[in-house]
Amino acid sequence: MDLRYLRENTDVIWEKTLEHLSLSLTALAIALPLALVLGILATRVRWLTTPVVSLVGVLYTIPSFAFMAFLIPTFGIGRQPALIILVTYAQVFLVRNVVAGLQSVDVSTLEAARGLGMNEFQLFRRVWLPLASPVIVAGIRTAFLAIIAIATLTGYINAGGLGEVMFAGINRAYPSQVLAGVIAVTALALAMDLVMRVLEQFTPVARARRAAS
């Protein structure tokens, strides 16, 4: 394996890695609140549940590159459109898990919370959301990894990041440069996976489970 490019352009790769991470984090930061609102609405408003869940299910089967193809005619290319694509695609994983998480909470627990006199807001903040959080946080991890993966693809539409490094290498037929991008994005994905798995351990439910085992 030819690591020359990686060795000689460490600063470029590092810069592109940060750019990739910042694009991905920005997308996640926008996508998450949106998905929470959508997921909560889909759970609470009965007639919305089925349409939202099936829409998300359909979107889920669309390959990311095809998904990009469908959005480019509307949004164009560049960093801004890339962000829109990432945020939209992340909804699939996020909304899915927000709904699944909220639905996984035992109804008798919610009823007890109401019975104790919590109003809907307190019920949500103190009981429903914390109990749904393991599933939601798992969804955030999947979504984040999907975002990082698609942010590689959006390198092709001039959105920067490590994809740009790889595509440049392909265009120059320079394997070492491609490899540098591959290694960096893989390292980034593995690192973020690890970070998210550690964060999962800090949900109240995970803490309680740990104490009980």
């Binding site: 669309i62 193809a69 790889m166 491609v178």
Partner: protein
């Protein structure tokens, strides 16, 4: 609608090329699915029969999921250069996680008492395996093949970046020309292929599922 008209027009005018790219896409995907099944299902079986360490291996292979698929496709380019081989290897590796996870889980989930009963009626180890254990695990294994085929058909699109003429080619051209017709024509066919693959393997899955359970 205009766009739909133009996409249909596109399919009509270039039917030969459309068929060729579609066929390339399907051929590459099926080959990869075949190789992956031959490699990862036996591995999953072996890991499931290991008294210890099996789940560790499964976990290690499953972590391939974290790597962005574009990075995987590009990973083998420095080794093989442009063309079919790096794409085939990448797609085969990509199918590893769903296949190995499901094979392992499918084999492990079979009730020990059933296997004991099979031995009890005088089957030898090979008979127990082929007549009882494997058939009972098959639905779960086929479900793994279904997820794997979705991954493969989706990612075969990306093989166009390293010179294999799959349907991704239309999207790549569509992005360069910023041409909506190309983008939609490619995207729609890819979605159709993925849904088709999922439907067919879903049908197989129902076929191999035992009447009860």
């Amino acid at each position: 609608m205009d766009t739909i008209e133009s996409v249909l027009e596109f399919y009509r005018e270039r039917s030969d090329q459309v068929l060729e790219l579609t066929w390339n896409h399907v051929e590459l995907s099926l080959l990869a699915l075949g190789f992956a099944t031959l490699i990862f299902v036996p591995l999953g079986v072996i890991f499931s029969r290991m008294t210890r360490g099996g789940s560790g291996w499964v976990g290690a292979i499953a972590s391939i999921r974290v790597i962005p698929s574009l990075a995987l496709v590009f990973l083998f380019y420095p080794v093989f250069g442009f063309g079919y081989e790096p794409a085939l290897v990448a797609l085969t590796v990509l199918a590893g996680p769903p296949l190995i996870l499901n094979t392992y889980a499918g084999m492990r989930q079979v009730d020990a008492s059933i296997l004991e009963a099979a031995r009890g009626v005088g089957m030898n180890p090979a008979q127990v395996f082929f007549k009882v254990h494997l058939p009972l695990a098959l639905p779960v294994i086929v479900a793994g093949m279904r997820s794997a085929s979705v991954e493969i058909f989706a990612s075969a699109t990306l093989a166009s970046f390293i010179g294999v003429k799959t349907l991704g080619q239309y999207i790549i051209t569509g992005i360069s020309l910023l041409d909506t017709t190309y983008l939609l024509a490619g995207g729609l066919l890819i979605v159709a292929l993925v849904l088709g693959a999922e439907a067919i393997l879903g049908a197989v899955e129902r076929l191999v599922r035992p009447p009860v359970a």
